[in-house]
Symmetry: C2
Subunit: 384 residues, 2 copies
């Protein structure tokens, strides 16, 4: 089995080994010291000096925590919708009665920061901009730095779903002006799912004081209060084993160096795209490619769901198909987490065989060669 999906991802052996440790009680100094170390390291990886709240939930729980803790039903927020996961922001706001102004982009296209600036200018009452860093459903990366510039200086807070990208792609929470960042454990952080985080700026924390949306388990107020003091705590029983695994995962990321992790993932993204093109297949996005996931547009091409099935059944590789309105139209290869160049070569090699066996006229090795070229070119500087 090889997971080449945009999360959950493979975990490094250090993280897996930590999963088999007997956990300590969560109210002990031992556990709380581990939590403190983990959150400090996470802050370094997320490039933030703001408090980072852990939540025992999957990423959607972190998104709901942001919506319910920062906004009230009297508020209007601007949601940049460009795929299935940004649509989730809309659905959460709707569930809790927070009013939404949609800023739609075609699926496969990035959010235009100038349009965000325009909307904020036209509607100075907008309380928050809710956007998506790496839109997993389409393989597009949004320009959070530019969106952050549009939001900075307004009364609105910037909330970012960073679930599928942070830890793997360059991301500067504080420098980019991200006020509330939702993070999941099972992507760039290379953990099993079930643990989420929210990083909160002072501007975001200020909003929490006045929000009237009902909330309890996912309330960020009580979670923030629990972080105060010498050793952090949590309002409810935390996901202890995942936090222990997080400590190991962050050690692995920091040992490699987060900038080097970003460069590795970027290279895997470039190579995968080069391979897809060399195989005569089409990428879904026209640009603004996310380096954690490559979305292949199968309109007029192979049946994406049978490609997914054949890779899984024939070669034990988990990639995934489309979601929402892209179901049956695309397949997606993830290259995030504990993956390297050879995982990409293996996946492309298997894909070539799957395509050939499905009767497609594929030149065996052509995709692999294109990926190799990308890898070799990147090594030129290193080995000179």
């Amino acid at each position: 089995m090889r997971i080449m999906a945009p999360g959950p991802v493979e975990s490094p052996p250090e993280v897996l080994a930590a999963g088999s440790r007997q956990i300590p009680h969560h109210r002990t100094g031992e556990f709380r010291a581990t939590l403190k170390d983990s959150l400090a390291a996470l802050g370094r990886v997320l490039k933030t000096a703001n408090p980072v709240v852990p939540i025992a939930a999957s990423g959607t729980g972190a998104m709901e925590a942001i919506v319910t803790s920062l906004f009230s039903p009297s508020d209007t927020v601007l949601v940049t919708v460009c795929g299935n996961f940004s649509e989730r922001w809309v659905n959460i706001c709707k569930a809790f009665g927070v009013k939404v102004t949609r800023l739609d982009s075609d699926w496969g296209t990035a959010v235009d920061p100038a349009r965000v600036a325009m909307e904020l200018k036209n509607n100075p009452k907008i309380a928050g901009v809710l956007t998506t860093f790496s839109e997993t459903s389409t393989g597009v990366e949004n320009d959070i730095a530019a969106i952050g510039k549009a939001v900075r200086g307004t009364d609105a807070v910037l909330a970012v779903d960073g679930i599928s990208g942070v830890g793997a792609l360059p991301f500067y929470t504080d420098d980019w002006g991200v006020d509330a960042l939702a993070v999941g454990s099972q992507k760039g952080l290379m953990l099993p799912p079930g643990l989420a985080f929210v990083a909160l700026s002072a501007k975001a924390r200020k909003r929490i004081e006045t929000s009237t949306t009902p909330r309890f388990y996912l309330s960020l107020d009580s979670a923030l209060k629990s972080l105060e003091g010498n050793l952090p705590d949590t309002p409810f029983t935390p996901a202890v084993s995942l936090i222990i695994q997080l400590r190991e995962s962050l050690k692995v990321l920091e040992a490699e160096g987060i900038e080097k992790v970003w460069a590795r993932i970027a290279l895997l993204g470039s190579a995968t795209r080069a391979a897809i093109r060399a195989l005569g297949l089409k990428l879904l996005p026209a640009g603004n490619y996310s380096n954690v996931v490559t979305a292949v547009d199968c309109a007029g091409g192979p049946d994406p769901d049978s490609v997914v099935r054949s890779l899984r059944e024939g070669y034990g590789i988990s990639i995934i198909g489309g979601q929402g309105k892209l179901k049956g139209r695309i397949f997606r290869i993830g290259h995030v987490g504990h993956v390297d160049e050879l995982d990409v070569l293996a996946t492309i090699g298997a894909l070539e065989m799957v395509l050939r066996r499905s009767g497609r006229d594929v030149k065996l090795g052509a995709g692999v060669a294109a990926a190799q070229e990308v890898f070799l070119k990147a090594k030129v500087g290193e080995n000179a």
Copy 2:
């Protein structure tokens, strides 16, 4: 390190080993088959034929899921308050605007089922009775069978916080008429925390259709829908590693036989209480003892928090102090999960030494001997 707290508890080696496996992708047949097996086994352990919904959250998330999915702000529910955790039902209802009628019992006393019946008779509009099986904060077990009889035949649904007791104490979800049962992973199920469940009767599922309380991540509607079909699924990314560990944990419980597990835990409870009494200490409850946790009333006795600290620092044993209004008044020894007679003897032995070192006049071995008597008496039948 030895955890003798009422959860999180120690995990059996089979469960720990499963924590180090590379997880499969959650949308694969492989994972969904594991989920199906786990939920089926869980239903057997909970003695229910009703659907059991998994949630990536700690137990409080399951309680909130019940409140928000079953009740509306126009509803009034009856909450039986007898400790810190039953107070949580009140706080969740308050957060979401569900009206609460309190039925208070002294902390350390069990809920009187006759008073529940009386309240329901006097207020036929009560939409639900929210109660607590094993009240961890006081060491009291409530008579859910009797409360179930009081609720049966009325329009109200019975919601039970079973987090700290089910899997360890005799519990018959369906026979007792429990409509909504909240379960946590880190107590009787012997897993790390971060996974919760809700078992739902047809009567409870009917209520979900009309509830207007805002909810999204913890919504039971979407979770129930995801369970339909040949292989179950989840609306959001599940806590994959914990579900894989659950499969192992349930194998361990079913290999021992759940009735035998209940008998083992009951024996550990009896022995612990006998030891406490033999040491001249007082139990907090006057009766209705929960067999998963023994609460020791330290009024006029040793300082409970220094007992907790000395056991941890001197002997690596994690017991816990009091919560809420019992903080500084009691300490609590858990005997739930992967624990046996010798764990109890070790804990009592350490407790005796801690008490002696604190200057108390304790007859060394007296508590241990009392526990041994209980164990030997229980074996008479077996070895005859």
